[in-house]
């Protein structure tokens, strides 16, 4: 059993974790010749009846091709924007920890510098400005219209088969 690609994966235990692992692997390795087997274990208590998840879980759903709207219907889900704590950090206080950011950054740098001048751009402070980000971080031409896109069009994934490569 040395060398060569992994051909068989056994997931010991079903439940939420087991099936999530199995679904993700099966989805990523579809067509790669890997067999995935889930063995339900006897005598294991089922997981919690209700779960709450973080916004990052939506990435996982997307990866699996799960339609979040359908899931809301099928699984009786509700939406969640954060967590309200009750009596924490002190009795009578109930702060809401929300999924989101506060306000918008202002100006060139942080607006905390007294008397700072404004700047037309907002955005991250740099320090990790990058040579080759996926999107150009440099001045770039923005041209509307399909003609410009057609001139240099990248085959869009998923539509690739319909995209005739240039001769």
């Amino acid at each position: 059993m040395t060398g060569g690609p992994v051909r068989n994966v056994v997931v010991a235990g079903g439940g939420l974790e087991g099936w999530a692992v199995a679904a993700a692997l099966a989805n990523s390795l579809r067509g790669a010749g890997v067999t995935i087997t889930v063995t339900e274990l006897a005598g294991i208590a089922p997981g919690p009846a209700a779960e709450h998840v973080l916004p990052q879980t939506l990435d996982f759903f997307r990866h699996l091709g799960i339609d979040a709207a359908a899931l809301v219907q099928d699984a009786g889900a509700t939406f969640r924007l954060g967590t309200r704590r009750r009596d924490w950090p002190a009795p009578g206080i109930a702060p809401l920890v929300a999924f989101g950011r506060y306000g918008a950054d202002v100006g060139f740098i942080l607006s905390i510098i007294p008397g700072a001048r404004g700047c037309p751009r907002t955005g991250q402070l740099f320090g990790h400005g990058d040579g080759s980000e996926r999107k150009p971080n440099c001045p770039a031409i923005s041209r509307g219209g399909s003609a410009a896109v057609a001139a240099g069009a990248w085959p869009v994934p998923g539509q690739y088969a319909h995209d005739e490569p240039a001769a």
Binding site: L29, A32, F108, G115, G127, C138, G152, W154, P157
Partner: protein, 503 residues
């Protein structure tokens, strides 16, 4: 509760680092509240080595409100799509580190895994054929990228070659317009406060003094404040980067400037070629432990293309980093903070990183230690990151034709770099952290260019049938070729948008 703001910032040294700092600080501070003074002497030359940049400079220029084309005309700038490395893997070999991505990721798997798979299946197409900036650069073509992610012209970025001294002068105009006061004079003494050893004032040759709350040391290699006055200490990296000398000389242009920097390896170092609109910058970086100065000078002059316009100027340096870039009330920006050879054109980037971190952690009059420590920690990481990326070029080589290259091949490298090389060698993982300067595509270019080919590819690349993958790869190549050929010549784009008055 915010403490009182700083009343006076003194910048010592007016080279590229000094004026970049002055302009950026003046852009974010109210100079009526916090005075910014820059002291420089016309008698002291500036180094101005960093004539090639990386795309990160766009962030700096944009935040300063610089009109890019105006700046390019003033600094005789050309466009840059990457760096060509000649004779690094072995004599006769060449590759380009382009500012852009290779091919297209498919089904969530990075492109290079498909390329690796088809290489194993017998497709000998070099990965360069999937890089638009590479193909365009080789054809001598350039135009601005596009924003539409569906366009292949959105897959690259660019930087500049420019005269760094003129860039400094350009920023000087900007800084003075924003209220920075310039004083001509040579600093002859640095006065420390007796109680805590913080810098109190600098004394000029004329006898005048300038006091301040915060001092920025932009005095170059010698570190007039950070080292000579504060004895901060220096980490010497010569065991990893043996080059410690350079000769630099400008030459006449031969033909139209190409849109890339060239770095050609020699017996004990390498030579840069940086094409500007009006001349070409050249320099030979070498190790004094492995090559005599006369020989290094001769090699430089033998390998320039046009007529030399001056006598070669010598630079001496110790690759490494100041132990604390920010010590007491002094921040070292530029060569006073550390030096890494310009193999990946990072000199100006490291200046920029220091300035932006200083602004991010900008102090009030308390100059609190936690801010300073965090600044130092983050800048240390930047330096380490750039250092490791440069070391990779020396370590990963098949060259054994000189003692220098034998040393580099055999030397130990930092643990983190060794770990990364192993990860790539085993199965092509080149993605480390999105917060780093060099990301997957940069590492990939250098790993593959230096001859490190992964033993295996991501198994998920097998999900797409080989015939379908082959068809898509061919489509990508054709798109890129066609897009590159449709771009105007680099010189035509310069002439159209940013030709300097003198050319």
């Amino acid at each position: 509760m915010n403490a009182p703001h700083l009343e006076r910032i003194v910048i010592v040294g007016g080279g590229t680092a000094g004026w970049m700092t002055a302009a950026a600080l003046a852009r974010v501070l109210d100079t009526e509240r916090t005075a910014i003074e820059l002291v420089e002497s016309e008698q002291i030359g500036t180094v101005g080595v960093g004539e090639a940049t990386i795309p990160a400079i766009h962030d700096f220029n944009r935040r300063l409100g610089i009109d890019e084309r105006d700046m390019m005309r003033f600094t005789n700038a050309t466009f840059k799509l990457g760096i060509e490395f000649v004779d690094w893997r072995r004599p006769g070999d060449a590759y380009l580190h382009p500012f852009g991505t290779y091919g297209q990721d498919m089904n969530g798997v990075a492109f290079h895994h498909y390329w690796l798979k088809h290489r194993e299946l017998g497709d000998a197409t070099p990965i360069e054929a999937y890089s638009l900036p590479h193909v365009a650069s080789k054809l001598g073509r350039f135009d601005y990228p596009e924003t539409d992610p569906r366009s292949v012209r959105s897959t690259y970025s660019y930087a500049f070659h420019f005269d760094a001294s003129l860039y400094g002068q350009y920023l000087r105009r900007l800084a003075e317009g924003l209220g920075v006061r310039r004083t001509e004079g040579r600093v002859v003494d640095v006065g420390l406060r007796p109680d805590d050893g913080y810098i109190d004032q600098v004394t000029l040759e004329s006898g005048g003094t300038i006091g301040g709350d915060l001092f920025i040391d932009c005095s170059g290699f010698r570190g007039l404040l950070i080292e000579q006055a504060l004895a901060t200490g220096y980490e010497d990296w010569r065991h990893w980067l043996p080059c410690d000398r350079a000769f630099a000389v400008p030459s006449e242009n031969v033909g139209d400037p190409v849109p890339h920097t060239r770095a050609t390896a020699h017996g004990a170092g390498w030579q840069w070629r940086i094409p500007l609109q009006h001349r070409t910058g050249n320099g030979h970086v070498f190790s004094s432990a492995f090559m005599a100065e006369d020989e290094a000078r001769r090699i430089l002059l033998e390998n320039i293309e046009g007529r030399a316009l001056d006598e070669p100027r010598q630079l001496r340096f110790v690759p490494g980093k100041r132990r604390r870039m920010w010590n007491r009330n002094c921040v070292a920006v530029g060569l006073s903070g550390g030096f890494l050879e310009p193999l990946e054109s990072t000199s100006i980037y490291l200046i920029q990183a220091a300035i932006m971190k200083l602004i991010e952690f900008f102090p009030d009059r308390r100059l609190a230690a936690p801010d300073r420590d965090e600044f130092n920690r983050q800048l240390d990481r930047k330096f380490d990151e750039v250092r490791d990326f440069i070391i990779l070029h020396y370590k990963a080589t098949e060259r054994d034709d000189t003692e220098f290259w034998k040393y580099c091949r055999a030397m130990d490298v930092p643990d983190e770099l060794a770990r990364r090389i192993e990860l790539f060698r085993r199965r092509g993982i080149a993605s480390h952290s999105p917060a780093e300067l060099f990301i997957e595509t940069n590492w990939l270019a250098v790993y593959l260019g230096q001859g490190i080919v992964p033993a295996a590819y991501d198994p998920r690349a097998d999900c797409l049938p080989a015939a379908e993958t082959a068809k898509r790869l061919a489509g990508m190549r054709a798109h890129i070729r066609k897009a590159a050929e449709s771009l105007p010549a680099h010189s035509a784009t310069i002439a159209r948008h940013c030709a300097a008055a003198t050319t």
